[in-house]
Amino acid sequence: MNDNANTPEKKNGCAGCGCGEGNGAPTSRSDARRGFMFKLGAGLLGIGGALAAIPIVGYVLGPARTRYKNEWVDLGALSKFPGGQTRFATFLNPIRQPTDGDSAKTACWVRCIESGKFQVFAINCAHLGCPVHWFEQSKLFMCPCHGGVYYQDGSRAAGPPPRGLFEYKWKVEGGKLLIDAGRLPGLEESA
């Protein structure tokens, strides 16, 4: 702050280097010494800045890392999913944070092809992720956003989706249907 009132001092280049000798520093310092101080300051700032940047960049970029693991989620007793039918099911996402609120809830469509054989579809349209809706009578999934339509086996029937519905891995354990769920399904998921 005091530097401002002391304009001649600015010429010495000390205001910028952050060294404590800025105030009232004699003008008779040798050029060599001045050059060294400047380099030292730049070096210290550079090292300090880099050290400070590591946690900041790491914090900001953290979510890009794929440290999250899917988990097996219980969708309920097999009796909830009669053969030949497609049913709506919901679960709490295993990857959730304390502040998620309702958004940790997730929905999916469970198709029981026959007893013990399932297809579990993500609720998200393969086009741009809107929630698809199952219509039992026409045996179609329809999307309200851009008109994607899928057959009962999840394959694309009409509209803009580039592929069929995303499917969760499933298994049956102790009379219950489990799916491998977590991250929002995306195109890198295999069909």
Binding site: Q85, T86, R87, F88, E136, Q137
Partner: protein
Amino acid sequence: MMHLRVASVFLCAMLAIVVACERLPGAPKASIPVVVGSPSWTLATFNTNCRGCHSQGAEGAALPLVNPGYWKIANDDQITKVIALGQGVSMPGYLDENGGPFSADEIDALVKGMRSMWGGEPHDGNPVLPGTISPTLVVGDAVAGALVFESACANCHGANGPAGSVTDPMYLRLISDQGLWSAVVYGRSELGSPPWNSPMPNHPNGLTPTEVADVVSWLATKRTQ
């Protein structure tokens, strides 16, 4: 003086905004949760889920529900069952267990709500009053039914009748016995199909409940032919 007047008008306008803020047209209405079973809920539920097929008058392809004549005969348990489980080829089950959107309580509330809007007193159908008909399907005598059909129905609904054939196996495969029974009993007056107790050829007083059962049983046998 002029300035004073402008200023006072301006002040009044500001005051009005402050006082009337909660009454301006843009003020959001306080969120009132929709109570299941309230008339507005019933109507909205019906309009979204049922009206497509079960409307009123000549509108809608299936049996109209906005129709006091229907509610006079129909039985609440029967309606609840049909809504929950579905019926025939085209009526899906609306109970959540059957893949539908409603809980059992919501279906009960819907039936009660529709009855209070369009029907009057609940009707359990028992005992059957003279001149009324059992609200549920009764198995009749198919052989007798053939004769009833020929004398009372065939004129209009026979294979080449002007109202279109009801013995077409394709038609019969799409409609359940209960559906046939409802079609005979309620008719659709707006479309020229009279209810069971209106005058018909050779039956000036309409059909009897037995004749209705017989003719439905006979039609059911035609389905598989």
